[in-house]
C-alpha cells in the first residue's frame, strides 16, 4: 500500500503539468508580467518543497520547520507579485489551482479505495487552504508596504519651501495636515528661514481640503514657531468654506495675518518689507527692444 506522499512523488511530473495547464488556461493570467519559464521554475520549486514536507507526514502545521522552504517560496512569490501589480485573484489562483491538480491526480490513482481517497483529499485540502491563506496574508502585506512607501514619498515631496522674493518664502501645503506632516512642514520652513535669512513666510493652505480644530492648532503652532525665530508668518489661500468652518468651530485666528489668496499675501509681504511693484511706462518698452 502506497502512502499519499509516495503516490504524489511518483506522479510529480503529471501534477506539475496539470498545474501549469490550469494556471495557463486561466484567461486572467498576465503573461506580460512574467514569462512561462519563470512560472514553471517557481512552480517546480514550490511543488518540490511541498512534497518533501508531506513525505514527513506533516499535514497540519504549515509554520513547522518542514514547511519552511514552501512558505518561504510562497511568501517570495506573493510579495513579488504584489509589487509587480498582479491582482489578488491571480495570486490566489496560484495555490488553489495546485489543489485542483493534486486532487485530480489522486482521484486517478485511488479509484479502487474511496475511503482512503476521501481521507487524503480532506488532509490535502486543509493543508493547501492554509497555504493559500498564507499567500493572501503575504500578498496584502506586500501591497501595504507599497502604500506605506508611497505615503512617505508623498509627504516628503509635498512640502517644498519656495523662495518667492529676497527675504520672502512661500510654502504651499497640499493635502491633509496631520501632526506628523506639520512637524515636517515646520522643520523645513524654519530651517529654510535660517538658511535664507528671510523675514516673511507665506503659508498657503489653498490645497488643504478641510480645516478642523486640530489642523488650525497645527497652523497656529507653525506661526508661533516662525515668530519665535524672528520672522513673520502670513497664512493665505483661505477659501470660503474654510473661513466658515473656522468661525463655526470658534477658532481664534485674529492675531495671525490671513489673506484670501497668495497674490494678496505677497502684496502684504511687499508692503511689510517696504517694497513696491510698479508697472513700467509703456513707451519705454519698444525703445529698449530696438
Amino acid at each position: 500500500m502506497n502512502t499519499t506522499a509516495q503516490v504524489l512523488e511518483k506522479n510529480k511530473e503529471r501534477i506539475l503539468e496539470k498545474w501549469m495547464q490550469n494556471q495557463l488556461s486561466d484567461a486572467a493570467l498576465r503573461d506580460d508580467l512574467m514569462t512561462n519559464d519563470e512560472l514553471q521554475r517557481q512552480s517546480r520549486e514550490m511543488l518540490d518543497g511541498l512534497l518533501r514536507a508531506v513525505s514527513k507526514g506533516n499535514y497540519d502545521n504549515i509554520y513547522d520547520t518542514d514547511f519552511e522552504q514552501v512558505t518561504d517560496t510562497l511568501r517570495d512569490i506573493s510579495i513579488t507579485r504584489a509589487r509587480q501589480g498582479f491582482s489578488p485573484r491571480e495570486t490566489g489562483a496560484y495555490v488553489l489551482s495546485l489543489k485542483q491538480s493534486v486532487i485530480e491526480v489522486l482521484v486517478e490513482q485511488r479509484q479502487d479505495d474511496t475511503s482512503m481517497l476521501y481521507r487524503e483529499i480532506m488532509q490535502l485540502n486543509t493543508l493547501l487552504d492554509n497555504l493559500s491563506i498564507l499567500t493572501f496574508e503575504t500578498f496584502i502585506k506586500g501591497r501595504e508596504e507599497v502604500i506605506l512607501r508611497q505615503t512617505d514619498e508623498i509627504s516628503e515631496i509635498s512640502t517644498p519651501v519656495i523662495r518667492v522674493w529676497d527675504g520672502i518664502l512661500a510654502l504651499p501645503i497640499i493635502g491633509t495636515l496631520d501632526s506628523a506632516r506639520t512637524q515636517v512642514v515646520m522643520e523645513n520652513l524654519l530651517q529654510e528661514i535660517v538658511n535664507t535669512g528671510s523675514n516673511i513666510a507665506i503659508l498657503d493652505i489653498s490645497g488643504v481640503p478641510a480645516v478642523d480644530s486640530l489642523v488650525a492648532q497645527h497652523l497656529i503652532k507653525t506661526v508661533s514657531a516662525t515668530r519665535l525665530m524672528g520672522a513673520e508668518c502670513i497664512i493665505s489661500g483661505i477659501r470660503a468654506e474654510i473661513a466658515q468652518t473656522i468661525v463655526h468651530l470658534g477658532i481664534d485666528l485674529s492675531n495671525i495675518k490671513t489673506k484670501a489668496s497668495l497674490a494678496s499675501a505677497l502684496h502684504l509681504a511687499f508692503s511689510m518689507t517696504n517694497l513696491e511693484v510698479r508697472r513700467t511706462e509703456r513707451h519705454k518698452g519698444p525703445k529698449l527692444m530696438r
Partner: protein, 136 residues
C-alpha cells in the same frame, strides 16, 4: 561663580548666551540684566541665543520675565537667532513668548531696536521741541 557678561552698546545692552543656561545662571542673568538696565538707563536689550540648543519651560519663562521687567523700565527686549529646534520646543511647551520681540540675527535685531527706539525718540522730540529751542 559663572556669570554671563552684559555689554553696553550705546543705548542698548547686549547679552550673548554661549553656554547652556542652568536655572541658577538664568536667575543671576535676569537679576544682573535688570540692575544693568536701571543703572545705565538702557532703552533696549538684545539677547542672542543662537548657540543655545536646549531650552526648557523655565528658560522660556525667564526670557518672558526679562522682557516684562524691561518693558516696565522702558526698555524693549529682542531675542535673536533662535534655532529651529528651540522654537519648535518652545511652541510645543506652549510658550510663545508674548511681548518679546524676535529677530533672525543680531544685525536684524539691532535694526529692529533702532526702529523701535526711533519711533519713541520722534515722539519725545515732538514733546521736547520747545525745550530744545531754548537750549540753542
Amino acid at each position: 561663580m559663572e556669570r554671563i557678561p552684559i555689554l553696553k552698546m550705546g543705548p542698548f545692552l547686549l547679552v550673548t548666551i554661549q553656554i547652556d543656561l542652568y536655572d541658577r545662571l538664568a536667575l543671576t542673568l535676569e537679576n544682573d540684566l535688570i540692575n544693568m538696565v536701571s543703572q545705565t538707563g538702557a532703552r533696549g536689550v538684545l539677547i542672542d541665543i543662537s548657540t543655545v540648543s536646549i531650552v526648557d519651560s523655565f528658560m522660556g519663562r525667564i526670557l518672558g520675565n526679562i522682557a516684562s521687567m524691561s518693558r516696565i523700565m522702558d526698555a524693549e527686549t529682542v531675542v535673536v537667532g533662535m534655532q529651529p529646534a528651540v522654537a519648535i520646543t518652545l511652541v510645543e511647551l506652549g510658550l510663545t513668548l508674548q511681548g518679546v520681540y524676535t529677530a533672525l540675527n543680531v544685525e536684524k535685531g539691532m535694526e529692529l531696536l533702532n526702529t523701535k527706539l526711533g519711533d519713541n525718540l520722534e515722539l519725545d522730540d515732538d514733546e521736547e521741541e520747545d525745550q530744545d529751542d531754548r537750549n540753542d
